[in-house]
Symmetry: D2
Subunit: 400 residues, 4 copies
């Protein structure tokens, strides 16, 4: 078996990565540097994490604040493409992986590591996303995926493994759900969700109110867009991260952004997940509303194509590829005209664009109404229709 000198581990402070530290040291005879990405998963998860890592046997622990980087260079560009995976999933976990993997490689370079490790299971998408990024950014570094190598399979075994080594761990023996949280979303899998014929119980949802619990009073907010980026909330300029955080609060209050889906994992199996994306759902609604005013029929259709491609790319962990550059170039160009204001109504799980305006709007009251105007002569329609349906006419005449 290969031996390594120094391994940088994507460390979360949870049970799995706590056990991975000693396991790596024992298995590969290496020093382990813990790397912890702050992508907005919340202060509880990060509090005391450095001490925890050292206590588990790490030689160093690097906590890197990636919140702005994540919001600005991953979430906002993805929003411009309109990407949604399989019609529903807003890619919260998927978008976070490349920003984390990139920072992890940077730490590895700084500390002179010869390998990278992660705590992803062998059945999920995240292993592919991490390792796909590693392949693109650091093909010279080895990758260690303990869950594919060791024989431990349960929380009991992990807890016993730690206890044998006198490594303190506050993890409980039972954990119903598997969750992933960041500035954009929380995902929940496992427990009763494993049978799609079960309705999710209330414990599944940890962030947002249910529509039932949400206030009976609707709330209206105004979002201002500039070139496809939402830049102000009710007139106040906010950075991408601040905007997401503010809208998360509003969305969570009003029960916005819950979805419960069975999706196709890249590894070929299906999984069922419940996602809460309160702010993201609001942002997407604002962008869609602006598109309605600004894109013509073909341009909108093309944006749809770009978004569908981008959704697969992000979900499938291919961020650091030439295809990503090309798709983002297309989307950024499209977003050039997406400027204006959208008023959104938040009410019991709904976010509805009720007012929208843009200096680049192609909507014209004068043209759309039924009276005459200078630009559109109704008589032109006849010619349009004759040519538009000409091939049908020819075909029909031939068949007679």
């Amino acid at each position: 078996m290969a031996q390594f000198k120094k391994v940088v581990l994507a460390y979360s402070g949870g049970l799995d990565t706590s056990a991975i530290i000693p396991w790596l040291k024992e298995t590969y005879g290496c020093e382990v540097v813990a790397f912890c990405a702050d992508v907005g998963q919340g202060e509880d998860d990060l509090k005391g994490i450095e001490e925890k890592a050292i206590a588990s046997g790490a030689s160093e622990c690097h906590v890197v604040d990636l919140k702005d980087e994540f919001a600005t260079n991953y979430i906002y560009p993805t929003l411009k493409t309109g990407a949604i995976y399989e019609g529903t999933y807003l890619l919260g976990t998927s978008m976070a992986r490349p920003v984390i993997a990139k920072a992890q490689v940077e730490v590895a370079r700084k500390v002179g590591a010869d390998a990278l490790a992660h705590g992803c299971t062998g059945k999920g998408n995240d292993q592919i996303r991490f390792e796909g990024c590693f392949a693109a950014l650091a093909p010279d570094l080895e990758v260690i995926a303990p869950w594919r190598e060791w024989s431990m399979r349960s929380r009991e075994e992990l807890l016993a493994y730690l206890s044998e080594r006198n490594i303190p761990c506050s993890a409980s023996l039972t954990k119903i759900y598997s969750r992933d949280a960041n500035a954009w979303h929380i995902s929940t899998e496992g427990g009763e969700l494993e049978d799609p014929w079960n309705e999710p119980s209330d414990q599944v949802w940890t962030w947002t109110n249910s529509p039932e619990q949400a206030p009976d009073e609707a709330q209206k907010i105004t979002l201002t867009l500039d070139k496809g980026e939402v830049v102000a909330l009710d007139g106040q300029s906010l950075s991408p991260y601040e905007m997401i955080a503010s809208l998360n609060e509003l969305g969570a209050t009003h029960g916005i952004g819950r979805v419960d889906i069975v999706e196709n994992r890249l590894v070929g199996m299906k999984s069922r997940g419940c996602y809460e994306t309160p702010g993201g759902t609001i942002l997407l609604a604002a962008l869609r509303a602006m598109e309605e005013l600004v894109y013509d029929k073909r341009t909108r259709d093309w944006r749809e194509t770009v978004g569908q491609q981008f959704a697969h790319l992000v979900y499938d962990g291919r961020w650091f590829t030439p295809l990503k550059d090309s798709l983002l170039a297309a989307a950024t160009s499209l977003a050039d005209d997406l400027s204006g204001d959208v008023v959104l109504k938040l009410y019991k799980g709904h976010v509805t664009a009720i007012q929208k305006r843009s200096p680049n709007s192609l909507y014209s009251e004068a043209f759309a109404t039924f009276g005459e105007d200078d630009v559109y002569n109704q008589k032109h329609a006849e010619g349009f229709i004759r040519l538009y349906s000409l091939s049908s006419r020819i075909k029909a005449m031939k068949q007679k």
Copy 2:
């Protein structure tokens, strides 16, 4: 100017087509046969319509019940494709046009007409849809579109025109909105909607409760699907039309199916419309939920492509084309596995699939959970990832 012997007019009993009857007779010296399609627009619209047509000068009036035909051969097949126009519009008016146009041509053949007429405006999509169908089905018949020919431009003028001829008409002088209703939806345009910066007023919505008005108690229903068709509601078999009618009632009660959008018309301009599609929104949710269980990643993606193409085809009035046959063949084949049950929760504007099961489900609890199983060996993932990211790795190594 051309003269015609007998013209079949798509007649609704409203102000416009009431005026068109005498106008056609005077302008073309022809007999006018009124044709009235019952596509589920409601009994009020149809009551006494034959008398009205005769009173307006029609020589005959044919009312044809197309409700089952519409539901079975237009709506249900379109549902299998998953078509939604510009991400939002469920194509209610668009799907109705070909079934009406086809029946109108059949009446024309029966009565030996030499021309067809409709009351569509020169600025809208419907003229294209009607005339596109006419071109495919009856290229030998002439088409008359009075709104593109006559000089009348207002309700006042039309009312005066009728009054001069002593033709009774109950139409009021002012009418704020322009609406289109059928078994699938009601659309509303005009009035304050003409400025997208205006929120729709309460008068816009005539069918569905608002989420605010909807019951505080959620309701759960079970829909059974067979090969992509929803065939039973809470265990009771229903024909497509009966199913749509039943779900319309449920959806309208629970405030389901309202959308307010600015869309791209085929004629190149934008228009703003509010749509109510209560039953349709429920049907679509059921189909989407079943897809989640049954389609693999690539199959789902292909269905998305088929649906996007079909949405444009239907919206753009190209129903009677070889492209429609090909798209429907693809969709029908895909729908073969879409059988099973979906439980939906209806609550204040939401329709949420909370339980789903299918004999053809590709979801397997055994595979998706994190323990070992026979089919999926976690060690396989390493090989998958290595090959999946191989081109990234090669590219990165070349660049060093």
Copy 3:
């Protein structure tokens, strides 16, 4: 290590599969049944193959004639889709894999085998194609891929292995190229081709004349199409297989169908291959020419989409999937109108459609020429253009 009772091996009579027979017996303690598919690779390859298999240790050898099945149910349907991989490759090897795999599974069922084996390398596409088909058709049978398991890596080792066991083998020590032949094509890889900066030498091409060697006299042939299938050559009805065989002869004489490409394998690496597909290139030219007459703009575009999808599907070994059924349903529907005659000129590597006609042609001399006609009124063009460019006009006016 697993033990098997009876293994059915896809056997070619070449060095690799000759060695696999004893290796399987020794490694798995199993009986080996040789299965040899006749997909038109030529009589030389098949002569005495049963004796050879028995001499190598097989308990039985089943030679199955799949030529008609291959031509009728794999090649002709694929042709209807217009599938070409990466713009150039006519999928000769890819299409043959599913027909072979299906017959191999049928033999396995007949003889009661518990495993399937093939001689594909671990770096290529064919292992994926075979095993993808096995997964769909016989998920209960184990698959053995000796090249991924044993340690032998060279012809020397294989020859030594056979010689140690006194198994006769006429294979030579050196073999420059790796080839695959069937009724549709011959592919050649390896040797000097491994450097894309090398021009292929003359030895690469074994079937077709070079354009330089081809006759100086052009030859004209007439192909008759019926619903997307080429059914007659110069008026003589031929089955799909007979047609391919006849056109192969003509094409090979005239130097038609050579391509030399670097392609993307599904396993993530690139490979360089030279392909000879003489008859196929002629068939494709005939279908393309007929499409020109029959498909309108949108229909042709859709066929292109279907073809691109199908090319990936076939190349990637996903024949026995619901996606294949859907794509073929779409293509078969499209092909309904592809009937008529095409005259093709064969000359020094060129196949050129010089005359084409179809009862379903949408081409009309009367419309296309510049004089007046009844169907097309030039004044209609103004209206078409005004509406077609309306969104550009609105955008430009807004920007002023």
Copy 4:
């Protein structure tokens, strides 16, 4: 009828536009400024054109050299997208229209014109392309399309019209073909081509040798690419226009670039055209060869999508749209890696890439061959295949 002060006419010096000058003056009481675009159509066409325009009644004649602009800003960017219309047509006429229209608008602005005129027929694509560009660039200027307005329909009538006005014209009474020439191509329509069952006669082709006439000796050339642009021929740096001109000579000699197709015009009818694009065919072959080395599977597929979209966009005259910007942004990003050398063999109508190399090549002899290497472990293939075919396996197991 509208009256204009000053009209800028796209003037070619041919019979049609010679007659249009006096017709515009008489019909609209306006001054006519002739505008003549030099897009490389050849010196013969341009010699004495200013005198001719003045003699026909123009007040001024502006000849603008657009050759470099055409090659650099229209042809080379389009090449990066890989756009080919309906699989065959290299868009020679289509790409020239926007560069001409833009320069025409610039002349109109300079001379203070209030209208633009062109000599395109009412049945073709060019009227749409010109007027689509005018709508985007100068929505305030009126457009006059005499062929859609006047009643003249034949060369006889035009010649008589000129002769009545004593305007000299060297045009002959009969002209079999309609042609369009520029730096990129020559197109030929009409005459015997109007029946697709007729083979094109020798008179159709005016630029290229036939394969039969081409030299019996092949010629090899080396093209150097930099970021998707062909920048050197046999080591000599050339501007885009110079490159096209040089390759045109080589291609014409070797009989390269002839196609004979029936295509779908945007106006809904089919037309048959013969195109000669000698240099363009060579350029495209060089780019395709480089793509083979540089693009991975998904990237290549995306380029195909971009190219298909761009082909329709250019053909349909939508150059000055946001969609064009987005597509070109995507293509330019993709082209970043397209650098290297391609050796092409020119022989009797064939252009074949026989050698290719790139610093960005993803091809690796080490990986592609069948021995072991460090990057690719054949054992990885098993895992890849298991996951890749997992959904097929699950489906098959469920069906048992």
